[in-house]
C-alpha cells in the first residue's frame, strides 16, 4: 500500500532518507514548473526549487502534519518565489514599463505586440502561443499569478490555495475571477483564434 505524502514526510522526520527521495521524485517536476511560471527564468526556477526542497529537508525535524503536504510545500514555494520576484523588482519594473510604452504607442494591449526577438521568429506557432500565455500570467499581480498557477496547473483545492496565500476562500474566488478576467482580456486574440 502506497504511503501518503504526510506519512512519507513523517518517515523523513524519523530519519528515512529514502522517503525524502520519493517526495523529491514525485514533486520536483510540478514544483519546478510552478516556479518557472512564477519567475519565467528556467535557471532561477531550478535554483528556487532546490531551495524549497532544502527548506523541506531542514524542517523535517519540526514537521507536524497540520495540513496536506502539498499545502505546506507550495506555501514554502510561493514564499520563495514571491521573495525572488521582489528581489528582482527593478528588472520587472523595466519590463513592465517597456510593455506600457509599447501599448501606448500601438494603442494595443502589450500581449498583442509580436515578440521582436530574432529567435522567437524561428519558433513554431505553438511556442509563440505558450510564450504569450506565460507573459500574460507573469504580468498578473503576484498573488493573482500564484492563485492561477495553483488553481489551473496544480489543481489544488480552494481551501489549500487559500491557506497557501493566507486569505479566505471567498477572497480567493474573487482573486481568481479577477485574474482570469485579466487573462481573458490580455489573451483575447489567442482566445479568438481558439474559437475560430
Amino acid at each position: 500500500m502506497a504511503r501518503t505524502d504526510v506519512q512519507l514526510m513523517l518517515d523523513v522526520k524519523a530519519g528515512d532518507e529514502q522517503s525524502f527521495e520519493l517526495l523529491l521524485r514525485k514533486y520536483r517536476t510540478p514544483l519546478v514548473n510552478f516556479l518557472y511560471r512564477m519567475v519565467r527564468d528556467s535557471a532561477a526556477a531550478e535554483d528556487l526549487a532546490q531551495e524549497v526542497f532544502l527548506r523541506v529537508y531542514r524542517a523535517r525535524k519540526e514537521y507536524a502534519p497540520s495540513a496536506k503536504f502539498t499545502t505546506w510545500m507550495f506555501h514554502i514555494a510561493t514564499n520563495v518565489a514571491l521573495n525572488s520576484v521582489r528581489d528582482n523588482r527593478h528588472r520587472k519594473m523595466e519590463i513592465s514599463m517597456d510593455q506600457t510604452l509599447d501599448a501606448n504607442e500601438d494603442e494595443q494591449p502589450a500581449m498583442q505586440v509580436p515578440d521582436r526577438a530574432p529567435s522567437i521568429e524561428q519558433q513554431l506557432v505553438a511556442q509563440t502561443r505558450s510564450e504569450m500565455i506565460l507573459r500574460a500570467i507573469h504580468a498578473l499581480p503576484e498573488k493573482q499569478r500564484a492563485a492561477v498557477l495553483l488553481h489551473k496547473y496544480q489543481e489544488l483545492d480552494y481551501d489549500e490555495i487559500a491557506r497557501i496565500l493566507e486569505c479566505s476562500e471567498s477572497a480567493l474566488k474573487s482573486l481568481l475571477f479577477r485574474a482570469y478576467e485579466t487573462l481573458r482580456t490580455e489573451l483575447a486574440p489567442l482566445v479568438s483564434s481558439v474559437r475560430i
Binding site: T29, A49, K152, Y158
Partner: protein, 181 residues
C-alpha cells in the same frame, strides 16, 4: 436604468461563483444559481465561454523539463547541510533539566533529615528513650491518684459569683461567707 443596475448586480453576484462552476467544483445550489443566470444573461454566458477557451489555451502550455543536473545539484546541497548536531541539540530538554533538579533537591532534603531506624516500635522507643521519664510519670500518677480532696478556701471565699447569691440560700449552717467574715 434601474433594470440595467439590477442586471449588473446580478452579474456581480455570480462572478465569484463562475470559476468554481466552470471547474466543476461548485456545490449543487451554486451550480443551479449560475446556470440560471447564464441562461438569462448573454454577457455572462459569453464570458463563461471565453473562460473555457482560455483554459483550453492554457492547457497547451508545455511542461518545463528539468535539467539533468538538477538531482545531483540538489543532493550536493543537501550533503553540504550540517549533518552533525548543532550546539543546542546537545542540550537536554527543559523537562529533563527540571526533573533532574527536582530529584537532586529531594535527595539532599532526605539525606539532611535525622535518621530513624525503620523497624522500631513505639514500646521500644519508650524503653530506650523514656525509661527515666517513665518512672517519674508513674510516681506523678500515684501522687494524683492518692491526692486527697482539697478545698481551696481562699479561692472559694474570693469567688465573686458566690457573693451575688442570697446568703440565706447559699450559705449552709457553719459555712463562712465573705459578708459574715
Amino acid at each position: 436604468m434601474l433594470g440595467t443596475e439590477g442586471k449588473k448586480n446580478r452579474c456581480a453576484g455570480i462572478e465569484n461563483k463562475l470559476v468554481e462552476y466552470l471547474d466543476g467544483r461548485a456545490k449543487p445550489a451554486e451550480r443551479r444559481a449560475v446556470e440560471g443566470h447564464l441562461a438569462a444573461c448573454a454577457v455572462c454566458r459569453a464570458r463563461a465561454d471565453e473562460f473555457r477557451m482560455l483554459w483550453d489555451a492554457m492547457d497547451d502550455l508545455p511542461v518545463f523539463s528539468l535539467s539533468p543536473a538538477f538531482d545531483a545539484s540538489l543532493r550536493a546541497r543537501i550533503a553540504a547541510e550540517p549533518a552533525g548536531h548543532r550546539f543546542w541539540d546537545w542540550l537536554p530538554s527543559p523537562r529533563l533539566v527540571f526533573a533532574t533538579t527536582a530529584l537532586v533537591a529531594v535527595s539532599i532534603w532526605m539525606v539532611s533529615m535525622p535518621r530513624v531506624a525503620p523497624n522500631r516500635t513505639a514500646s521500644e522507643m519508650m524503653t530506650s528513650e523514656g525509661t527515666t521519664s517513665r518512672v517519674s510519670e508513674e510516681a506523678d500518677f500515684r501522687m494524683i491518684r492518692d491526692l486527697p480532696v482539697l478545698e481551696n478556701y481562699d479561692l472559694l471565699s474570693k469567688f465573686d459569683a458566690l457573693s451575688e447569691l442570697p446568703s440565706s440560700a447559699t450559705a449552709a449552717p457553719g459555712e463562712v461567707t465573705k459578708e459574715s467574715r
